[in-house]
């Protein structure tokens, strides 16, 4: 009956294949209005005046709000620098300036366009290079006075600065027989969850707002909306419908506060769903990065030193940027025993859309640079690229940068798994069809699961079934099912006797969010602890009834407590729960409250400044090999087949783990080869699926082998840790290393479009 380790079907699969799953756009409330947004046409401008008279008079329009109508509470996960609507000035093209609620969506959109806003244009900064110039205009005049959650240095357009240093990098270069240096550039990537962002807010007679939204955390929605609208949290209840993917786009605020403001103003429910174009233009994207990396090694392949500096484009508002930048720096050493490391980063405000959380959280960008350098070193010393990685591999008992403990030998196992499955050692026998070049490419990464806090409550109903309340939002990755599996096996009950409640700030314990690959690991741990408390209480009841000691009792499969060694002396959960409800003690509940508490930085080992996460998480590892093929005529690259090994501790639901690995791979394939948000001046040039392309069935590799490595994480639930992000982190360098193997050209810029590959192959520089 055990379900942990089984690929049981998703609990929500049936409703999704029947078309009955309700996402935010599928919710309707009586008397509901529709919201629309008027965005700024300018990248940087002062707002001089608003004239909403014509808009207000359009039949069907109920509310029109400008920045001047709202309290202007400042929010932001690291820097409190953002308001719901622009106040006083606009900082990027598309920034929401006014909002409208009307009887239907067409009317609301038409009315929004009728609002006249007068602007005084200001010079804009569109790149970090422009932003860091002496005389650059300031995106945020009050930058230095903003509240920041952690200490850092800032000023002008510098929003945050972080550095890590351990060992002695400056001296270490002289120990190296070989040093490689390079500059790398990665592009802005759009999440393109198939569901655009949206929210529905309703205010009740007592003035309390209920808000549903496409989200990755009902608690972040609550905190953000309350900060933004200056509301007490008691005034806002946040709930979640089914969510159509997030990948980081829905972790922090999008339209929730705007929707709530319209509901409060109009007194009626308001639904606001973004168009795909708006989703591209006003929410967030993956940060573009410029990375300078330097790595040094000895002739025998021992890695000695690594130095990385990154310049990160923040966009107009901080959002998760400090976290992303800091995390990249923490990951910049890679899964290797490099004793001398220095990683520094500077984050600059620009007059573009905010950049924020996106699967990988800065790791895909920095791994692009560092994993290419590992291959460069291997090539220069004539060592096999896999053997070089294995030689330097982080092992169980090692420390991460900063001193955090590594509990797993999973990295070596991942390398071994891909080596065998992809027949790495026979790669020179690969045959390229006429007109193509072909090679295997390898890259690796680490990642974390953890961060911040969570809780779980398990309640036993009268009939012995169990309700599991957590704040974990299932955004499609399958957490509802996995958490139910953990709960079921922790209590030894069939999974159909576990009900997982939908996250609701009124009734779920806090969970920071579905992010940082943390739900299985953090919420799973809380569930295991809460289940132990339930078990203890049930045993106390049974001990009373049997007149024995709780130590004589054991949990039996099927929801029973019995006396050890006496098979027919047992009581069902129902028996015990009925007693609790009606006779003795009160309803049986177990709860747990948990903070990830392993410190990221040991100050005796590492000098760190501007660290945005004092306690980060447990480490996971991955290795990816791609069979890369290049069309010689055009430079177009395809990945015929891929092998992706991930160290997951324990696969609670192997099918779901495979799905994450395969999905992450294809999203990484897009990052590597064809996806790029492009600006024409200050405006996004391709804010539509016509012009921003993600891989289709015919572009994705037909064979993506997900190789699960299970080296139990000591305190993970059943040994499990996370999988959400690591599958994307090493994809781009694996492909680009494959391109180098196939045609001898080492690209240092993403995406590796046919254009970039062809010009590299021809040895010609070109404009783009």
């Amino acid at each position: 009956m055990n379900v942990v380790g089984e690929s049981i079907p998703r609990l929500d699969a049936r409703e999704k294949v029947s078309g009955r799953a309700q996402y935010i756009a599928d919710l309707y409330r009586p008397g509901m209005l529709h919201g629309a947004i008027l965005g700024s046409p300018h990248a940087h401008a002062r707002i001089k005046s608003y004239d909403a008279r014509a808009a207000k008079q359009l039949p069907g329009v109920v509310s029109v709000l400008t920045g001047a109508d709202l309290k202007g509470g400042k929010f932001g996960p690291f820097i409190k620098d953002e308001t719901v609507l622009a106040i006083g000035k606009v900082r990027y093209v598309g920034e929401p300036v006014c909002i409208v609620a009307a009887e239907n969506e067409r009317t609301a959109r038409r009315a929004a366009l009728m609002i006249e806003v007068e602007y005084e244009e200001l010079p804009a900064v569109l790149t970090p290079a422009e932003a860091m110039a002496e005389s650059a205009p300031h995106v945020h005049e009050e930058n230095e006075s903003y509240f920041r959650v952690h200490e850092t240095s800032c000023g002008g357009n510098l929003a945050w600065s972080t550095s890590f240093s351990e060992g002695d990098v400056d001296r270490a270069w002289s120990e190296c027989d070989l040093i490689v240096e390079g500059e790398f550039e990665t592009q802005a990537q759009a999440h393109v969850a198939i569901e655009p962002c949206g929210a529905l807010a309703e205010i009740d007679a007592a003035g309390r707002v209920t808000l549903w939204s496409a989200n990755q955390s009902v608690f972040r929605v609550q905190a953000n909306v309350c900060e933004a609208l200056c509301l007490s949290m008691s005034k806002l209840r946040c709930m979640t419908p089914r969510v159509g993917g997030g990948f980081g786009n829905k972790m922090e605020m999008h339209v929730q506060a705007m929707t709530a403001a319209l509901a409060i103003d109009s007194g009626r429910p308001v639904k606001l769903i973004l168009t795909r174009e708006e989703d591209f233009e006003i929410v967030r994207h993956r940060h573009p990065y410029r990375i300078r990396a330097k790595s040094g090694a000895k002739r025998d392949g021992t890695l000695v030193a690594r130095e990385v500096n990154i310049i990160v484009d923040c966009g107009a508002y901080g959002d998760d940027s400090p976290g992303v930048m800091g995390f990249s720096l923490l990951m910049a050493r890679g899964p290797y025993r490099i004793p001398n490391v220095r990683a520094t980063g500077q984050l600059y405000y620009t007059n573009k859309i905010r950049f924020g959380a996106f699967r990988g959280f800065g790791n895909p960008q920095v791994s692009f640079a560092t994993e290419i350098q590992i291959d460069e070193i291997a090539e220069k010393i004539g060592m096999d690229a896999l053997d070089l990685r294995l030689k330097n591999a982080t092992r169980k008992g090692d420390s991460w940068v900063g001193g955090g403990p590594v509990h797993s030998d999973g990295f070596a196992s991942c390398l071994k798994a891909v080596r065998e499955s992809a027949e790495w050692d026979r790669r020179s026998t690969l045959v390229a069809s006429p007109g193509t070049r072909r090679s295997l490419g390898l890259a690796c990464s680490s990642h974390i699961s953890g961060l911040l806090s969570t809780g779980a409550i398990i309640r036993v109903l009268e009939d012995g079934t169990v309700v599991l309340n957590t704040g974990a939002v299932d955004i499609g990755q399958g957490s509802d099912t996995v958490l139910s599996q953990i709960c079921a096996d922790s209590l030894q009950i069939p999974i159909d006797r576990v009900i997982i409640g939908s996250p609701d700030t009124d009734s779920s314990p806090y969970n920071w969010g579905t992010t940082a690959s943390r739900v299985t690991y953090m919420v799973g741990r809380a569930i295991v602890t809460a289940a132990a408390e339930v078990e203890k209480k049930l045993k106390a009841h049974a001990a009373d009834i049997f007149e024995c000691s709780p130590e004589d009792l054991t949990l039996r499969p099927g929801g029973k407590i019995g006396i050890v060694g006496i098979p027919d002396r047992e009581l069902s959960f129902q028996d015990l729960s009925l007693r609790a409800h009606w006779a003795v003690g009160g309803p049986v509940m177990g709860s747990a409250s948990l903070m990830y508490d392993q410190k990221t930085i040991d100050p005796k080992r590492t000098v760190a400044k501007g660290v945005p996460f004092p306690q980060i998480g447990v480490f996971s590892f991955s290795a990816i090999i791609c069979d890369v093929e290049i069309d010689e005529a055009t430079g177009k690259t395809t990945v015929r087949e891929a092998w992706s090994a991930c160290d997951v501790g324990k696969a609670i639901n192997p099918g779901s783990v495979e799905g994450q690995i395969q999905g992450g791979f294809v999203q990484g394939l897009g990052f590597a080869l064809c996806e790029e948000v492009v600006w024409e001046g200050a405006k996004i040039a391709n804010p539509s699926l016509m012009d921003y392309k993600v891989p289709t069935t015919l572009d994705a590799s037909p064979k993506i082998h997900a190789l699960l490595v299970e080296d139990p994480e000591p305190d993970g639930p059943f040994g499990a840790k996370g999988i959400g992000e690591i599958p994307i982190c090493a994809v781009a360098p694996a492909i680009v290393n494959g391109i180098a193997g196939a045609c001898g050209c080492r690209l240092r810029q993403l995406p590796a479009t046919p254009e970039r590959v062809l010009f590299a192959m021809l040895g010609e520089s070109h404009a783009s």
């Binding site: 969850a193 198939i194 569901e195 495979e658 016509m690």
Partner: protein, 158 residues
């Protein structure tokens, strides 16, 4: 928006009279008037495929179809695939193969796969990929979806 008129739509085997104006797409009318929210608005440009329905048993984009021009032509949405409580073999295969993650693309791709299997009950994986190239999925990487469609009719004779 121009004045709506009464339009006779034949949806999932039932004749329904709805009010629609000439600009409204079938997607809007199915969702907002008939409360069939299975077809989704993912892009409104015909690219993502989440809005796909069958008209005359052929997959089309409901976001690119004007409702008034679909009058009296048999329309099937994902809600109309299953017969009462029993899912089709395809729907069951999608569940069993772990091919649903967030589910937002699922309805649209089921319509295309359903039409494919009606013509070709035992397709090769290449045939499935070609048929589904107009349905974007951002979660799954497509591998399990293709497997599920290939295996849908495994239990029945070729």
């Amino acid at each position: 928006m121009s004045r709506p008129r009464l339009v006779e739509l034949c949806v999932n085997g039932t004749q329904r009279a709805v009010r629609a104006s000439s600009e409204q797409t079938l997607l809007e009318v199915l969702r907002d008037e008939l409360h069939l929210t299975g077809p989704k608005r993912g892009c409104n440009q015909g690219v993502c495929g989440a809005c796909t329905v069958l008209i005359d048993d052929q997959p089309v984009r409901s976001c690119l179809s004007l409702a008034v021009l679909t009058e009296n032509r048999p329309i099937t949405t994902v809600e109309g695939l299953a017969r009462g409580k029993s899912l089709t073999a395809l729907q069951q295969s999608i569940i069993d193969c772990g091919a649903v993650q967030c589910g937002f693309c699922t309805g649209g791709l089921l319509m295309v796969a359903h039409a494919l299997l009606a013509d070709n009950p035992h397709p090769t994986s290449d045939e499935v990929r070609a048929a589904l190239s107009g349905n974007l999925c951002r979660c799954s990487g497509y591998v399990k979806i293709v497997e599920a469609v290939c295996r849908a009719n495994e239990g029945s004779l070729p």
